[in-house]
């Protein structure tokens, strides 16, 4: 069985399993182990993953946080509210900057900076359980780092464009 011949069923099972394990806050290295075990076993046995391991959600339920996922937890609520507030201030500051306005006396750039800092804090608080595949030498895929770098680069580019526009218009 070649890597490219991994069946659609296995790919879908893998995707679902990773999602349910991440929702249960299972560590990224552990997720990588669990997924690799599934792929290896079904390749050897020829069984569909649902037959060998049961439904992805039920198999994932054996690992990590055993509490009911649908109960609201203070940390999740706080993180979501903080992310929403950070996004709001960032957008608000950006549009104020575009129209040359301020926000109740607070400079637009300061509103944007505040929003960006809140978002960075949220990214740092959210657990980084990106999948670490043990077959790739345990090298993590730094999802959070990539996300942070991407967000930073996007806003740096945006600010650069605004600065250029300001130069051209001014």
């Amino acid at each position: 069985m070649t890597a490219s011949s991994v069946t659609t069923t296995t790919r879908k099972y893998r995707r679902d399993l990773v999602m349910w394990l991440q929702l249960r806050d299972v560590d990224g290295a552990r997720i990588g182990q669990i997924v690799a075990e599934v792929e290896s076993h079904v390749a050897e046995s020829g069984e569909p993953p649902e037959v060998a391991f049961g439904p992805a959600k039920a198999y994932a339920a054996q690992f990590g946080d055993t509490r009911d996922r649908w109960k609201l937890r203070p940390r999740s609520v706080a993180t979501t509210l903080a992310a929403a507030a950070g996004g709001w201030f960032l957008a608000d500051g950006f549009f104020d900057l575009l129209v040359g306005d301020d926000d109740a006396g607070v400079p637009a750039w300061l509103v944007m900076l505040g929003g960006a800092l809140v978002l960075v804090a949220v990214f740092l608080v959210v657990p980084d359980n990106s999948v670490i595949d043990p077959r790739r030498g345990g090298r993590p895929r730094h999802t959070r780092a990539v996300l942070l770098a991407g967000t930073g680069a996007m806003f740096a580019g945006l600010l650069g464009v605004l600065w250029l526009l300001n130069l051209l218009v001014g």
Binding site: A36, H41, S45, A52, Y59, Q62, P134
Partner: protein, 135 residues
């Protein structure tokens, strides 16, 4: 019930020791081979969803060691080996299991059957109540 279709509660009780013994018997092995070994010994079809959490528990207890190797164009293989602590644990648990199943067997056999040799040797029996005959 099929010959190898044992109640799941029995499997749950015995699986950890059986997997440990299988790893000991097979040397360097992997999950699917362990499942085949257990099936070949009449323990039924042990699914991956049952087997791999057991292998993880054994590794967490330091009774086995694992490493990943490249598969031949496949998704790779997790090799499992028993550790020295695992061998010692196997001997101890196997002995305990023998005494436990001996007691169960003894109870099931009823008072008319002689107690199992292992139970007598272990001193586990000796005060077995003898049936009272009505006079």
């Amino acid at each position: 019930m099929d010959a190898d279709n044992w109640p799941s509660s029995w499997t749950r009780a015995a699986i950890e020791l059986c997997v440990l013994a299988a790893v000991d018997e097979l040397g360097t092995t992997h999950g699917y081979q362990i499942a085949r070994h257990l099936a070949d010994h009449g323990l039924g079809d042990i699914k991956g969803g049952t087997l791999y959490p057991v292998l993880t528990r054994l590794e967490d207890q330091g009774l086995t060691t694992t490493r990943w190797v490249e598969g031949l164009g496949g998704p790779g293989r997790k090799l499992v080996e028993i550790s020295e602590a695992g061998r010692a644990a196997r001997r101890e648990r196997q002995d305990q299991w023998g005494r436990w199943t001996g007691r169960v067997q003894d109870l099931l056999a009823g008072p008319d059957e002689p107690p199992t040799i292992s139970l007598v040797a272990a001193g586990a029996v000796g005060h077995r109540p003898t049936p009272q005959k009505e006079t």
